[in-house]
Amino acid sequence: MIALPPLAPPGVLTSDGHDAAICCFPTKQQYVALVDAFKNDGFEMCVDLCGVDYLEFPTRQLPSGVTPTRFEVVVNLLSLSRRERVRIRVQAGDDEPEVDTLFDVYPGTEALEREAFDMFGVLFTNHPDLTRILMPEEWEGHPLRKDYGSGRIPVQFKQTPGPR
């Protein structure tokens, strides 16, 4: 069992039944401080960061005390010395999701945060270069949002040939 960093407030830490990882639910204000505490606690690496849009699944299970918002940022930390993982899920907001960047704690989150911004429009405060990474720069909308329909743009090779 992972020792709780002193910053984690009670009631936000659950053990996940599926992959036996520890899940933390900090508020936006606690978020960077909590990640920093985990880093000092021996979690050397941030392996993954991604966004989730819960627009069509608002009934997801969360521990009491956590107010669900539409967007969530999920961070996976890894401790090489202790061989443990921890997952941090922060509620990022509804209309204009915004959280602080982890760039100063783990520089390796730079591209992952850009991807989350590109795909979900989550803003990362103080990120050094918050530009799109996968989509073209002039693209409108954020493709992985649930209200972004796929197939909106006709693909040329699917057009039916004209009459002969």
């Binding site: 599926h18 090489l80 390796g108 270069d129 530009t131």
Partner: protein, 450 residues
Amino acid sequence: MIDDTVRVAERIDLLTAETSEGEQGLQSRASTSSGQLRREVGAVLRLDGKTLDPSSIDYEVRDDETMIINMGPAHPSTHGVLRLMLELDGEFVLRTKPVVGYLHTGMEKTGEELSYVQGGTNVTRMDYLSPVINELSYSMAVEKLLGIEVPERAVWIRMLMSELNRVCSHLVWMATNGMDLGASSMMIYGLRERELILAFFEKTAGLRMNLNYVRPGGVAADLADGWQDDVTVICDTIHDRTFDYDQLLTGQPLFRQRMVGVAPITAEEALALGLTGPLLRSTGVPWDLRRTMPYLAYDQVDFDVIVGTYGDNFDRYAIRLNEIRESIRIVRQCIEKMPSGDYRSQDPKVTPPPRARIGESMEALIHHFKLFTEGFQVPEGEVYSAVESPRGELGCYLVADGGAKPYRIHVRAPSFVNLQAIPLLMRGGTVSDAITVISTVDPVMGEVDR
């Protein structure tokens, strides 16, 4: 009078507008923020005593004496469509910025529209050099959510196929790396040996690449009769030929000059950047998920985790060459220890009824039809499963809402994260070193862009 629409040398803006990626590209130093600048010169560390103040970065040359050039997206050494923007002082690289996304096809969005049964065909196309391992990561995530057990034989078949796939992927790396450095005979040899494995894949799964062989609940088909002989031949042949590669490359002075001591990286830098796989192990960190967080039956086989010392190009080469030998060692143990039994779970939820039953039982027919049209439902929850791919930690983060399709599927692609090391590795080297850096980082663009 210059025509506004004709691209001529006097109108450079017209020449560049067509390929510009706007803010995503490398900007002039004056219009780059200090944090971004620090990243482009590869100063990633925030550790005590190693913090680099951007105002103290010694550029040696003035802004107007350098040149920003594009390498890629169609450069042959970029292994696909990776575009690098380099700021050069003569032949030396000052700043680098990778521009990606040219192969983005929205596979994570597609994954939300395919059922769990179909999902395997989607993820297998991400890292097209290690399809089996992609499927494995995805299937393990689905199985964790479903809470089903995979039969012993399926576990060992998965392990056998993963290791053959790892050999296959490293052989392609050896081949393309040889080609990048001008050793074109290595190119031919690497692809020749890979053909043996692809032929075995075809015999087992029906396809050479993008197999969709590992599925939630087990694997698609049992190994073909006489597979032990096929695999033994593959192991013997490739193991012998790795010593030919040694002769061809390892001691070759020209090869060594391009590799030894070029583009080193330290363990702290690698950890800070989140690098995994051979890049991390080359710095001496013995981190291999097969050993440190065993999945499948990797705790029941004997193998060594290969680590380097200096973190340079040569270490990364040596690690991959020796991992081929270690994987072959695991494959040989798989042949010996392969248990008998089912190759897929008999849980009717995920496994269709056998073909013979469909002809005689109405229920079996309905069940078969439902499974392949609607798919099966996965209970609510979220899960992260990670496996060791040839390029590093391949993770699959899955959110299920109780329906037959994943609510969100995110793939933690090792190449995508490893690309962040490129500015650091290239700083101060020449353009020809840049080629070896791209090669030894080994990005697969299908996985980077997804």
